[in-house]
């Protein structure tokens, strides 16, 4: 993956038919406080809206929140759409309660395997903090403050 010049910008939203917006709301505050430009899309966000916003602000990363348990289904195809839109090297994170069946959610390596397969760079459980997400993205972008 070619390294792009990081410009501290992220797109944040809750994907699919999911109306939970508090995770994204907290992330927005944390990323702004860390000096990032944030496009916060709220909840019930279709894949294409994430991509449109990423193009608009030339985002380094798309941070997808999913709380209602169908994140695995909702995130399928997002990487492909990014590539089609010319966002080959954009970083993709997912976080929240991403899988409906307990069989998967309780088996975290399986969640990671599935999201890696979907082309995501990282996936976070719902116990992660906003500060943790900021630190992870800064590390992935090679930003040292």
């Amino acid at each position: 993956m070619s390294k792009r010049q990081a410009n501290r910008s992220v797109v944040i939203g809750t994907i699919g038919a999911d109306a939970h917006m508090i995770g994204g709301w907290v992330l927005e505050k944390a990323f702004r406080a860390a000096g990032f430009t944030v496009a916060f899309l709220g909840a019930v966000v279709p894949q294409q809206e994430f991509i449109n916003a990423a193009i608009e602000i030339d985002a380094d990363a798309i941070l997808v929140s999913s709380m209602y348990g169908m994140g695995v289904l909702d995130c399928e195809g997002l990487r492909q759409k990014c590539i089609e839109a010319g966002l080959d090297d954009i970083i993709l994170y997912a976080g929240g309660t991403v899988a409906a069946p307990l069989e998967i959610e309780k088996n975290w390596p399986e969640v990671e395997r599935r999201f890696e397969e979907l082309g995501f760079d990282r996936v976070f459980p719902n116990t992660c903090t906003a500060e943790g997400a900021v630190a992870a993205l800064k590390a992935d972008l090679g930003i040292v403050d």
Binding site: A19, V44, G69, L73, L102, E103, P125, N126
Partner: protein
Amino acid sequence: MDKQVKNVRLSDDRFFKIRREEVLPQWETGRQIEDLDECVAAAKELSEGKNYARRFMEARDKGVQLLTPQFGRTLTEYMIEGLTHVETEGGLAPDGMWIIFSDSYTRKLDFAKAAAGIERSRREGMSMLNGWPIVNFGVEEARRIRRASQVPMTLNSTDEDGRLSSEIALAAGWNGANTRSLQECISHCRDIPLEEEIRINQYESRLAAIYTERGVPICTHNCCNCTGYDTPGYRAFVVVSQSLLGAEQGIKYMFLEHGLNMSLIQDVALIKTSERLCREYCARFGYGDVDFFTGGYPYLGAWPPRLEEAHAMIAWNAAIAILAGCTTAILKSEDEAFATPTKEGMAGSVRLARHLQKVAWGQTLPDCEELRTEEAMIELEVRTLMEKCLDAGDGDMAVGLCLGVEAGWIDTMFSPWRHNKGRVLVMRDAQGAVRYWDPGDVPLPREVKEYHLEKLAGRAKKEGRELDFQMVTADLQFASILPGT
């Protein structure tokens, strides 16, 4: 401002036109329920002895508190297995009832995606959707589930348009529908105007009333579940305003489903005040024959990811409903932080809450000064908003609600709904009660505003620091963060 929607009962002509042209064609299974007479007759037979509204009345007469677990898995066989397990292993029957939830694709009317989820669940051998896709499966499958359960059943199809889902559920002898408008916009919607949401829900309320008029009593859920970060005054207002919209369509039984903030005295005050004001406002507008039942809905904010803490949450939420003297306590499960509820998790919640009822010995929170003060503050806030709505809408609640949201004097802190201004800031006081830090454009009476600020000053003093925005965000995870993390 001229509003198309009015709080007026749908005529039969209008109702059946909408049914034929708008609701049943939403998906192919709509065809199975074209004959409403057959639907009502089947519902009557299937829910005989298991009628939801009647069970509420019996329970109240006998002084029994019911329990309402919730369940929803992708495939019908998982559903039947799960319900049977909780009813027998968990001891739900006979003093219990079900809320069955549909998946979120169904709630957004994306039945093609729900179909893909069904296929995927069969392929993977597990439930990949977060509920049971009632519309895709249709009325006969819903009737199969009805026959397999021993207790009353209702569907939670909560979202902007649950009409087809509720049509199928009612035709299958599940006896709950929804009285909702602002609640859904605030909780689940993004773009729909309130006016359109009210129009959609007038239909659903009318549908429930038609079943009731034809001999199958339907009890609708009038909810204020919101996000878990709303003041009790706002929550009570949502419920009281919706009671007028539902009653106008002919609903006779309403279940007031109160999302709990987990602050005992304030929550009990919310439950008592809402019911009292629903009765009062309905009587004032000529709907004196509507009966109300109450229930606590467990906290809708973030839950802790460990069993012991999750059990504490289940118990505390159930205890609040029990101490408030609610007709039923709705239950969440230990799986809440991770996934959709499992049958084992729900059976455990039922056992836990049953034992709680047993050791509580029928006690309820006695009347006390603190409770009276909270009730008075909630009542003042609700009355102010109700009267402002009625005034703005020239006596029409539907019109007043729309105008209030547009102007921003009906407002709450969090919502995915773009029409909500979100200028309000709330935080918890030193006892965990939810207070307005900044009421935005909500016309709080001076007394209420001062009371909330005084309570928050108590928190600042206790913590030895000024109130700040960080407290608002910290409150969001107050119940979910484990010690040492």
